[in-house]
């Protein structure tokens, strides 16, 4: 099995927004980042894949041969968590554990308690507990992560897990991703959406870029870093280099942007410096290009 999920032409039509057709894959054994501007369709796609929102068309094939997201066998293999207010706000750790134990076959109460301890959230068995509404956004997200990671799943789907976490907690989240993947090497996969690309780069193996409801680029990060180059140079060379670049941002002193690696020689001839882009730089370049194309 090579892909945890194959997305074949999924569409979703709203009054003012259309997702898709989305054709993509979530490779098995890796962490996949879903990257895009606000309103690109990341949350809609995640919700469709997890059975939270219905789709208008297309199909998703999970674990090579499963297509019915309403099938409990499939639901039990997917650990899903949304970005905000995943649980009712008057719930405590104990209520979450009670509910998840009934809601899923593979929730481990002891693991939940251990994760709560690791995230400094307290003990779910304690009598006096804080309600979610009284927790900070960061602690709420930690609680959601503890709950979803306490299940023995094969695919973790997280919508913006890093957005409300502090930098240290984001680092811990990257470690958790690695732990989750290595616990059953090659069998588990992660899909997460993020705007905190720089902080999550360490945890990202594969990236899917979305703009205006469509997938505009995807691939393993290492491959993308070979496909694209980061170009920068002095302002006087900007006009010569611009035709070879995919995205361009310049000022009075210099310019920077992304170009295809196949144009490296031509750009070097324009007196530019060429580097391997980081995922953050790659994302900005690719998303800017999509924005310009849209105009």
């Amino acid at each position: 099995m090579n892909n945890a999920v194959e997305i074949n032409g999924i569409t979703k039509k709203y009054k003012d927004f259309t997702l898709g057709e989305v054709h993509s894959v979530i490779p098995c054994g890796f962490a996949t980042a879903l990257i895009g501007a606000n309103g690109a369709g990341k949350t809609t796609l995640i919700d469709i894949l997890c059975g939270v929102t219905g789709k208008t068309g297309g199909e998703a094939v999970y674990f090579a041969d499963m297509t019915d997201i309403d099938d409990d066998k499939l639901r039990n293999r997917i650990g899903y968590c949304s970005s905000a207010n995943f649980f009712p706000l008057d719930w405590t750790l104990a209520k979450i554990a009670d509910s998840m134990e009934l809601g899923f076959d593979n929730f481990d109460r002891q693991r939940f308690a251990a994760l709560c301890k690791r995230f400094k959230l307290g003990d779910p068995a304690e009598k006096k507990q804080k309600k979610l509404i009284k927790l900070s956004d960061g602690n709420k997200m930690r609680t959601y992560l503890a709950a979803v990671l306490a299940r023995d799943t094969e695919l973790l789907v997280l919508d913006e897990p890093a957005s409300s976490l502090d930098p240290l907690a984001r680092d811990v989240l990257c470690d958790l991703f690695r732990e989750y993947l290595t616990a059953r090497d090659g069998e588990r996969s992660i899909l997460f959406s993020t705007h905190n690309i720089a902080d999550m780069e360490f945890a990202t193996d594969y990236a899917i870029f979305m703009a205006n409801g469509k997938v505009i680029e995807q691939g393993f990060v290492e491959d993308l870093k070979q496909k694209y180059i980061l170009v920068h140079g002095d302002a006087e060379n900007a006009e010569k280099a611009k035709p070879f670049m995919l995205s361009f941002s310049g000022g009075r002193t210099g310019f920077e942007g992304i170009a295809l690696a196949e144009n490296a020689e031509m750009l070097r001839a324009c007196d530019t410096a060429i580097e391997t882009p980081t995922l953050q730089q790659l994302s900005i370049g690719i998303l800017r290009k999509a924005e310009e194309d849209e105009k």
Partner: protein
């Protein structure tokens, strides 16, 4: 936990954190306390105007006002819990859509909540009847009033279900008390109209049961079609 092996009470606990029994008990207590508080308020006013307890009790006991209080306080229970839908955009909405069983579990929870509501309604009415039987606070026409109020509020349950067709939650929330209390008022008026004939409310209650079942099914089908995903 396999979704098809979830009991109604477990589905209710998955959604609310409480079993049917605990929910029914809580709602019963809320209804009974509201009834006691309503009577206490009006009793205190009467006491202040009359100057002594026996006269105040005499003025209050056996009046239509007591029947109204029983109707309103029992009716409140139907409004509070009957309108909760756990929509996707609200806290917990996405979680509930991801659990085993999905809509089937939601359906079980709604049916469990209905049972809890009816149990609580009966508890409040029985409390009202007991206060009448023991002569603490008399209903206008005795315990037969309780049967009339109960029957009309059972129809109120079906009407609250049909309120689910109203998409706007603010409009739904605003109109529901009027619908429930309009149904309840019949329970207050009809005993005088039918000379406390007990057969009439029993027939009404019997008719309310299929109406509740149908309204519950229709409401759930509509919610699944238009709101669930």
């Amino acid at each position: 936990m396999k979704s098809n092996s979830l009991t109604l009470s477990q589905a209710h606990k998955l959604y609310t954190g409480n079993s049917i029994g605990m929910s029914a008990l809580r709602m019963s207590l809320i209804g009974i306390l509201c009834y006691i508080a309503s009577i206490m308020c009006i009793f205190l006013m009467s006491w202040m105007s009359k100057g002594n307890v026996p006269d105040a009790m005499k003025e209050l006991s056996g009046t239509t006002l007591i029947n109204m209080f029983l109707t309103i306080d029992a009716g409140i229970i139907l409004i509070i819990t009957g309108l909760i839908n756990y929509d996707r955009q609200y806290p917990g909405g996405k979680y509930f859509r991801s659990v085993n069983g999905g809509f089937e579990t939601y359906q079980k929870m709604k049916n469990a909540a209905l049972i809890a509501r009816i149990t609580a309604l009966l508890s409040v009415l029985i409390f009202g009847a007991l206060t009448d039987v023991f002569g603490i606070i008399r209903l206008k026409n005795g315990t037969s009033d309780m049967v009339y109020i109960g029957a009309s509020l059972l129809i109120g349950i079906a009407l609250v279900n049909f309120m689910g067709f109203i998409r706007n939650p603010a409009v739904r929330g605003f109109l529901s008390p009027f619908v429930v209390f309009a149904a309840g008022v019949f329970g207050v008026i009809l005993p005088s109209v039918f000379n406390e004939n007990i057969v009439i409310p029993l027939v009404l209650a019997a008719a309310a049961i299929p109406l509740i079942i149908v309204s519950q099914k229709v409401m759930l089908n509509d919610y699944k079609r238009r709101q669930w995903k």
